[in-house]
């Protein structure tokens, strides 16, 4: 089928491929959801690095400072990966913060019960892994439950999961109470999730591995294609033959799973769990996705965007700490960043 039209398209593609690298980068920034954030992220890093090179008392590039940041990113990043998949599929889960607490407390309690505390006489090596597995399973099943209720009764997931958020928050207090819970799992679990290679904390490595896996899932797997389709135009997806119910159930399940993993990662690192520790994280995770170019109404977003969005939020937090600014500045900056990044993304796209 070598028609004139096909030849014309091939010629046009060849011509585009011959253009200079710089104009192709401009195209990338314009058309990709993460284009704006990538530029912003690089600009911030360049400025801050230049300042800290010129001014050694600004300790941004100190190994200790870098290590602190790399320790902190993973929990929010892991949660945001799951949230982004669900947002792209056109739904929300506001209960991920509550699930983060509930699942990590269940995992930690079971680890203790099964003799996996590192302080035990003969600590069990597998108990923490069993606790982790149960925690992750609860997270995934909770996500599926939210999906089934949302889809069965055809109500906005915002409402379902607003209810679920309060439910899981209450369930945490019912199961454990309000006091903090010690979590010092035995080896090798502890090394696997709470050691460092140089300045890089284990949790960061888990985050990056998951980000790569999610990148392939979302951008190169058939299922990822279906997430974009049901989130972008549900009716069209149905008409063409994508099952939106199945697709969304999977997205909810992934999101709950990641919330649980995020909570357990955080608990392992700080070696104790606060029952209220996850509150507000759901909004930070949504913020990271939006800063990274995800559309609030579905169909658009990218994994690189989520990673950069999370990293930018922690860069700002780190800078404010280095400047000894009070904590409330962080909220103010992130608030501004959300609005600015959406405005920039829209402006770039309209030009494109």
């Amino acid at each position: 089928m070598a028609t004139a039209q096909s030849d014309h398209i091939r010629a046009a593609i060849q011509q585009r491929n011959r253009r200079s690298r710089s104009s192709r980068i401009v195209d990338w920034v314009r058309t990709k959801p993460e284009g704006g954030i990538a530029v912003l992220f690089l600009a911030v890093q360049l400025v801050v690095i230049a300042v800290s090179l010129a001014n050694p008392s600004f300790r941004y590039l100190d190994a200790a400072n870098i290590a602190v940041t790399l320790k902190a990113i993973a929990p929010l990043g892991v949660m945001a990966l799951g949230v982004s998949i669900l947002m792209i599929a056109g739904e929300f889960d506001l209960s991920v913060g509550a699930l983060y607490s509930f699942c990590s407390i269940v995992a930690a309690t079971l680890t203790m019960t099964w003799g996996g505390d590192s302080g035990a006489d003969v600590p069990s090596a597998i108990a923490p892994f069993a606790g982790l597995a149960v925690g992750l399973l609860i997270g995934a099943l909770a996500g599926v439950l939210h999906a089934v209720i949302t889809l069965r009764f055809n109500i906005p997931s915002f409402i379902t999961t607003l209810g679920a958020m309060l439910m899981w928050k209450g369930a945490t207090l019912l199961y454990h109470g309000a006091q903090s819970l010690r979590f010092k799992p035995s080896e090798p679990f502890n090394t696997l999730f709470n050691s460092s290679i140089g300045v890089v904390h284990a949790s960061m490595i888990w985050f990056l591995l998951l980000a790569v896996a999610f990148y392939f899932l979302l951008h190169h797997h058939r299922l990822g294609n279906h997430f974009f389709a049901v989130g972008g135009n549900r009716n069209a997806a149905v008409a063409i033959g994508v099952n939106p119910v199945r697709t969304k159930i999977i997205a909810f399940g992934i999101c709950g799973f990641m919330a649980a993993f995020s909570g357990i990662l955080a608990g392992t690192r700080v070696m104790s769990i606060q029952p209220g520790g996850g509150l507000g994280l759901e909004l930070q995770a949504i913020a990271a996705c939006v800063i990274g170019g995800a559309a609030l109404n579905g169909g658009r977003g990218s994994i690189l965007g989520v990673v950069l969005g999370t990293a930018l939020m922690y860069t700002i937090q780190d800078l404010l700490l280095l400047l000894r600014a009070p904590g409330f500045y962080f909220d103010m900056f992130v608030g501004g960043l959300i609005v600015i990044s959406v405005i920039t993304n829209m402006a770039i796209r309209r030009k494109g």
Partner: protein, 263 residues
Amino acid sequence: MSDLQIIEPEEKPIKGLRPTETPLLEMRNITKRYGAFVALNSMNFYIGRNEVVGLLGDNGAGKSTLVKMMSGINPPTSGEILANGKPVNFNSRADSEAAGIETIYQDIALVDQMSITRNIFLGREITNAFGFMDHKAMEDKAIDILGSAVQISGIEDPDKEVGFLSGGQKQAVAIARAVYFKRNILLLDEPTSALSVRETEHLLAYVRDLKNQGTSSVLVTHNLYHAFQVCDRFVVMSHGAKVYEARKEDTSIEEVTYHVIRT
């Protein structure tokens, strides 16, 4: 109350023609209700081998409802669907795909946020055994597909997001997709609403040719001249029921026009 007058519809539902051989697809006694509203009322419809059926009628007559039902995305409230004489359930797109049916929907059915290539292959991605997509193979195919049915100028990049295309370009993508994957039956629900005169002629000629290659079509249109150019049989609907049916050789454009506008 006694002076309440029952106004009979001017035209009564009719049984219409009967297929002479086993049709590719047959809808028998189909009723579709949306709550109390009856969108299709005891509708009978069939698509035979090597024919183009014109499905005509006023706005809201139920044409798209019937087309969506034959595409599997709008199951009937009651009635029977037979593919090649065998009763089938049409509960999802997968069911109609199995029967070899492709549809160009009236509302285009493309995902604006996705590229042309991804739209063309949505639900039929070319993947390896693990489900990972072969982007290169899909793009190569997409370029062939875009050149096959209608030739719309300005489509130069299969990687472009569909949301940036013009109305006609979008329609061309939807047409190209259906035309490429069609097997037994092609359903065209007002496929030329956004096309130029030249591309409309192309598409109509293409539908006529398809018949000889063994693909039957249903053409939904408000343009009776187009219908007369390509269709072998006409079905006129009104208020969810069939009110007129005739083969081309047994009728005239005036007669069909009369039945479309009088209802």
